[in-house]
């Protein structure tokens, strides 16, 4: 299980994944808005999104758990 935690506070501008989605390494999972800048969060792994703990418009904090991904085993 890979946990995506937030590196800074900010607001969730766009949420691009939902539970059950298959993601590839490098896919953009969601975009925060921090100090008027867009900060995309990319998937560090290939896998399946198992839980999403943020919603668009949320004000979020540093270290907050945003998303969980079950890592797909290489075939």
């Amino acid at each position: 299980m890979t946990k995506i935690e937030l590196e800074t506070g900010g607001s969730v501008w766009k949420l691009l994944t939902k539970p059950g989605d298959l993601v590839e390494e490098g896919d953009i999972l969601f975009i925060l808005e921090v100090m008027k800048m867009e900060v995309p969060y990319e998937s560090p792994v290939n896998g399946k999104v198992t839980a999403v703990h943020i919603s668009e418009g949320d004000f979020v904090e540093e270290d907050q758990l945003a998303l969980e991904i079950a890592v797909r085993k290489p075939v």
Binding site: G9, M35, M37, P40
Partner: protein, 517 residues
Amino acid sequence: MNWEKEIDEIARRRELALSQGGEEAIAKHHAKGRLTIRERIDRLIDDNTFEEIGPIAGAANYDENGNLESFDPANFVLGFGEVSGRKIVVGGEDFTMRGGSPSPAGLRKSVYAEEVAIQYKIPLVRLHEGSGGSVGGTSGKGTNLPGPVNAPARFRSVAQAMSTVPVATAALGAVAGLPAGRLVASHFSVMSKKTAQILTAGPAVVARAMGEQKTKEELGGWKVHTKNGTVDNGADDEDACLAEIKRFLSFMPDNVGQLAPVTSCDDPADRADESLTSIIPKDRRKAFDMRYILSSILDRDSFFEMGKSYGRSQITGLGRLNGQPVGVWANDCKFLAGSMTADGAHKARRFMELCETFSLPIVSLVDEPGFMIGSQAEREATIRHGTSAVLTAAMTTIPWASVMIRRSFGVAQAAHYGPEGFVLAWPSAESGPLPVEGGVAVAFQREIAAAADPEKRRRELEEQLAARQSPFPRAEALGVHDLIDPRRTREELCRWVSRVQPLLPALLGAAKFSIRP
């Protein structure tokens, strides 16, 4: 008659000293995945270059006839060695005896480390693993006299070393109390993610005083201390820590009286990177990769980042331009938009003090939106720490080259430019008292509110004002030395570094202000 007996006795003691805390203690230490201090020193320095200081200092027990019964070596190993052919002083606690808590001879050698580095004017490397004093005293018997009132101030040499020679330290096991204080009294510090913790006080003392139950790792593991700036860097294991120390030293002169070593450079000074023309998105909300720009402009593979996990909106480190070591500072717009936070300002101040101490020119790539704002920023005293960075920059005497990459706003931007610095701007540069987005909302509050479509009016005003922040009027007014094609940045900076060479010798010697932890 000859001195054979005494000579044999010296050899015997040397052998006893090398046995450290004994086979069992060493095996236990290895079983925990850690190296002994002698192994650490061996791995740091060039082969066969160790010249030990006080190899037979320690505590001896004699029988009634004056014969040696047992010998406990000092639990701090100290000496000279060479790193890449350059002489250094190196030392560290021996954890296999008393858990590195200083024995009387160990303490003497430990305190001598700074003095000998100052005397010989060569870099000091301390490899730490150990705790501070014990309530039983350094002898372990509780009978030693307290130090006299007129004893020299213990930490004076620690402070003097930092204004005289490069000091690099590593935490390689648990480091607490005095060794923890000395760990951070350095220009560069690194901790092993696998084996080190740094503790002002360990779990037992914390539980007794605070009622808090925490493991060593929870209290002072790498996740805590790389993020809060206690150490500059975290490295995977002990060898990786030693490699980082060598890398740091490669940029440093031996002392403040010497120039940093210029190496030969096979990376062309006029190498132009095509991708720099499009790396800054035209959409001002989109971030870019400042570390890529740094690696593209500096000599190939020369960038050495310090403090990556701390004060992350600011990027600081060392690098080379045409072989000349330089301090490197830039903003990371991917983290809090690159704004000056309290911890980012502290990191920047230490970085500038390091460069001033060792007469390293500074290259600054500016994308500074201003001080971080909001309630957390206010609680962290951002304006105070930020202004400290601004005034530090204003007091430096070393040469600066600043390149306005994108934003340069507010009071905070002033920290990124040195006195009489060389200033270049990219076409993407914007500057002013504050970024238009915030500024428009405040200055045109009434006008926006009164408009038929307030959102539309706000955007129109932002666009009008953004146009005024263009770098062309600034270049027309000689507000920058030049407005350049980004592909020419490396060439321009290499020319600058060559121009400032004649200025550097006059800067040598003790800095007017030096670095503090």
